[in-house]
Symmetry: C2
């Protein structure tokens, strides 16, 4: 199955978003992740469904098929191995490699990534601590983290909410934080465990009560 870069990016996005949402991902969530419009997502979802890479019923959200998931994991594997290469061999900093790995992960080759893995001596984690799937697509998931345990300077994506009570969700709305939001921890106050974070729309201060109720994934 030969996929375009765009198709691969959709699969990868659905894969990352599927964690939080019990495997069903909405059109809007994907469009936010890929910075496209919902209508574009619908179009692409149909193509992916035609190729049996996603399950799709109108208005019901999408999930990856077994084949789609396998491909998504392969892309994650490539991404993370390239990140290791960039940091360990080319002396990049761990916070500089994401964009580059986004390009490198789409290089097509039967053999390249396995040779790269051997060259890197079979690393188990990428520079951000995320597990690297093996050749067969097996991946040792580490549990989701709470925003409260993200360190200064690290960035993460919101992938879930622990306390899904209404007032809490409303409050998150007000902060313009939603699933898929990118957050960067600027600093943490030790006396009350509040943190200053950067969002797409600006810097805000977050109490510990909030930060320990947000599932995030480091990026």
């Amino acid at each position: 199955m030969l996929l375009s870069q765009t198709e691969e990016n959709y699969l990868k996005a659905i894969y990352s978003l599927a964690y939080a949402n019990s495997n069903k991902v909405s059109t809007t969530l994907i469009s936010a992740a890929l910075k496209t419009k919902a209508s574009s997502v619908t179009d692409m979802i149909k193509k992916l469904a035609d190729k049996d890479l996603v399950h799709y019923k109108k208005y019901q959200g999408v999930s990856l098929t077994e084949v789609g998931q396998k491909i998504a994991v392969e892309i994650v594997r490539k991404h993370r191995l390239w990140e290791v290469f960039l940091v360990n061999k080319l002396n990049y900093n761990w916070d500089e490699v994401h964009e580059l790995a986004e390009q490198l992960e789409h290089i097509k080759s039967e053999t390249l990534i396995d040779k790269l893995e051997a060259f890197l001596e079979f690393p188990k984690h990428d520079p951000h601590g995320d597990p690297i799937p093996d050749k067969n697509g097996n991946i040792e998931h580490h549990k989701n983290m709470m925003l409260s345990s993200v360190e200064n300077g690290e960035s993460c994506v919101v992938i879930g909410i622990k306390d899904s009570s209404d007032p809490f969700l409303k409050f998150l709305d007000k902060l313009q934080i939603q699933l898929g939001s990118n957050l960067k921890v600027v600093s943490k106050e030790s006396f009350d465990n509040s943190m200053l974070i950067e969002t797409a729309t600006g810097s805000i201060s977050i109490s510990n009560q909030i930060s320990k109720n947000l599932f995030v994934k480091k990026i």
Copy 2:
């Protein structure tokens, strides 16, 4: 200047072909090199001319502008450094890396290729012996070779003809050899210096008189 992969491929093709043809390259030659149709080439040439990457007057062929040439050389630099990486670090054979380097050369980054170059300890030549342009685009050209001096198993592209006499050209026509043709030397007979070569259309035997009149570039 942010170029698409396709645009970069056109520039690279024009660059390689420009050697033989006193810098002017014909539409047909480009279309052969890129395996597209001449009409597609005309379309793209116009776009490149709009961006001042090529000089173009209808029916007169194209040549690279200074900017276009600079970009082309950068791509060559990337291509060759990636080839060194694949052969020296990932244990690929020198004849397996071209396709992969064709993909890797299009990775966009301000810093990547210089870091890669340092990691590889500033190689001067790629695995096929071709010179690697430096950071500033300076490239130490090695002279064109004659087909007669290509070794067994090596592949090359015809980039020029020394004896441009009519009968010779006619003969080349009959052999279906033209500028841009890919040739692979299968074997050489020591008693008469003839060689068996593989072309796109089949295997043919070539006398030394022919092979020493064809300028080629190894690939």
